[in-house]
Amino acid sequence: MSTVVVAAEEIVAPPEKASRLTRERVRSAWLFMAPMLVVLALVAGWPLARTMWFGFTDANLSDLAAAEFIGFVNYVYLLQDPDWWNAVWNTVVFATISVSIETVLGMAIALALNAHFGGRGLLRAAVLIPWAIPTVVSAQMWGWMFHDVFGVINEGLKVLGLIDEPIAWTASPDTALIAVILVDVWKTTPFMALLLLAGLQMLPQECYESARVDGVHPVRVFFKITLPLLKPALMVAIIFRVLDAFRIFDLIYVMSGNNKDTMSMSIYARQQLVDFQDVGYGSAAATMLFLIIALFTVVYLTLGRIGRED
């Protein structure tokens, strides 16, 4: 009887010394995290709050101190601005098409990298190259390849007999977004491929062994075994990429500047903020973009936590 009571006491009330140690450790934990948290609050928390505040004012870049509170005026105007909705549409189209292509292509490359063959290292090295090249440089390299007069792509298409007249890739409204999507696919597929490869390498090998023994066709193996097992990793990769694609700025700005046909939400906000000096309105647009992404992120994290019970 007494042994049970003593044991229960030990479980319920740990000895004084351990409790003090725990408290000390928790205190030092916060101490250790403090510098990082302070910096993060300074570069992320404060500026975000400031931007949200500016969204409710008529601030102008030339004199930020003279900003006056004007309530939701900026937002009302924003939601009625066809240029804003054009930017939203461009961003959605860009994100959807880019991520779809990157997923399919990335999956194919991941499967190839997962197979055992000579020259696998060469493939992996080649695939990392687009990822290693700075976005600005990729934009310039492809901008040159897409050049309407001297570009090698138009030349190649002409030689193949697919076109008669050179296409003005980045200038023509029909092709501008396509050009940007193609470059983003080139740049980001390696990342997708690597994420999916990591997922593939963690799959249990027994299913594949038995499938091979049973003589199942590789395509069926992919759709019936690989794909369902890979779904969690696939979802993570896709959602991560979509969130990233919504924020796109660098690539589009360097390839086609403030061109309306390719303007993403980030570019729209920046144009208002820096070029038009309308800090109030630009901040409202930026806040809107943030809220859209935050909504998706919260959904993504919540689903992730539900699926993982840690």
Binding site: A126, L128, Q140, M145, F150
Partner: protein, 279 residues
């Protein structure tokens, strides 16, 4: 069709696919090199190797803008970013990875959430802050502002790594009366070489690559970093871009990066996937 033939065709298609992939990934870079070696009107001909290769464009890049200075700026910003992020992140990772406390998971997700901020959403606030701190047109403005995207993944990856370290070492140190600071520096740091190198490398590449903040927080061409310099290379008139120069600058910047990435392939791949798959 016999099974061997089917197998051969399958193999052939596979290798064809590989060739296409390698061509697709490498061609733009190859084309940039070729274009950078062409001078004058050669640029306007589509040839797969210049008939008269010359280094003119490379010389012009350094002559027409302070490109050497731009490269040094980028190196300075990238190195300082890595040093700052790693020091902040290692300390935080110890707390988040080894010590149980209330709110730990929430905090981790908040830090991860910051990595989803669109840069434009913090731009006006950051701009005001940078100006208030007197850091406008100063490279430290970049080092500081880059923390917004380096801290989340360095903290996350290092925390994941810290969690895996053996508990016995830490317990032995605690029994010996070691303070947390000693535990981190004397017990764990020596074990974290690979993780620090990997996250450091990723942070370096991210900082090197960054464009929007570098564009907005610098004014003079001497203070620009490489991405901004390459984006803003201009010619005699606003309609005449010196493509030869632009390609030369691109090659100059890319070759060391590619060499770095090829050498550290495995580290990079494991670093990129560590956070995503485990986290």
């Amino acid at each position: 069709m016999s099974r061997t033939t089917k197998k051969l065709i399958g193999r052939g298609a596979f290798y064809l696919f590989l060739v296409v992939i390698v061509f697709y990934t490498v061609f733009p870079f190859y084309w940039a090199i070729v274009s950078s070696l062409k001078t004058g009107s050669e640029l306007f001909k589509v040839e797969f190797w210049p008939s008269d290769p010359a280094w003119d464009n490379y010389v012009a890049v350094f002559r027409e803008q302070p490109f050497g200075r731009n490269i040094l700026n980028s190196v300075f910003v990238a190195v300082s970013t890595v040093l700052l992020s790693l020091s902040l992140a290692v300390a935080a990772a110890y707390a988040l990875g080894r010590i149980q406390f209330r709110g730990r998971t929430t905090l981790l997700f908040v830090v991860l959430g910051v990595s989803m901020f669109p840069q434009i959403a913090v731009l006006s606030g950051m701009f005001e802050l940078i100006r208030a701190m007197g850091l406008y047109n100063n490279l430290f403005a970049l080092t500081l502002s880059y923390m917004i995207f380096t801290l989340p993944f360095t903290v996350w990856v290092l925390t994941t790594f810290m969690r895996e370290l053996p508990k016995e070492l830490e317990e032995a140190a605690i029994v010996d009366g070691a303070k947390p600071y000693t535990i981190v520096t004397k017990v764990f740091m020596p074990l974290m070489g690979p993780a620090l190198a990997t996250t450091g490398l990723l942070a370096f590449i991210a900082a090197w690559n960054e464009f929007l903040f570098a564009l907005t927080f610098t004014l003079s061409s001497e203070m620009r970093t490489v991405p901004v310099a390459i984006a803003l290379i201009s010619g005699a008139s606003s309609y005449e871009l010196p493509w030869g120069n632009i390609m030369a600058a691109s090659v100059i910047v890319t070759v060391p990066l590619i060499v770095l990435v090829l050498i550290f392939q495995r580290a990079i791949v494991s670093g990129l996937t560590a956070g995503a798959v485990k986290g």
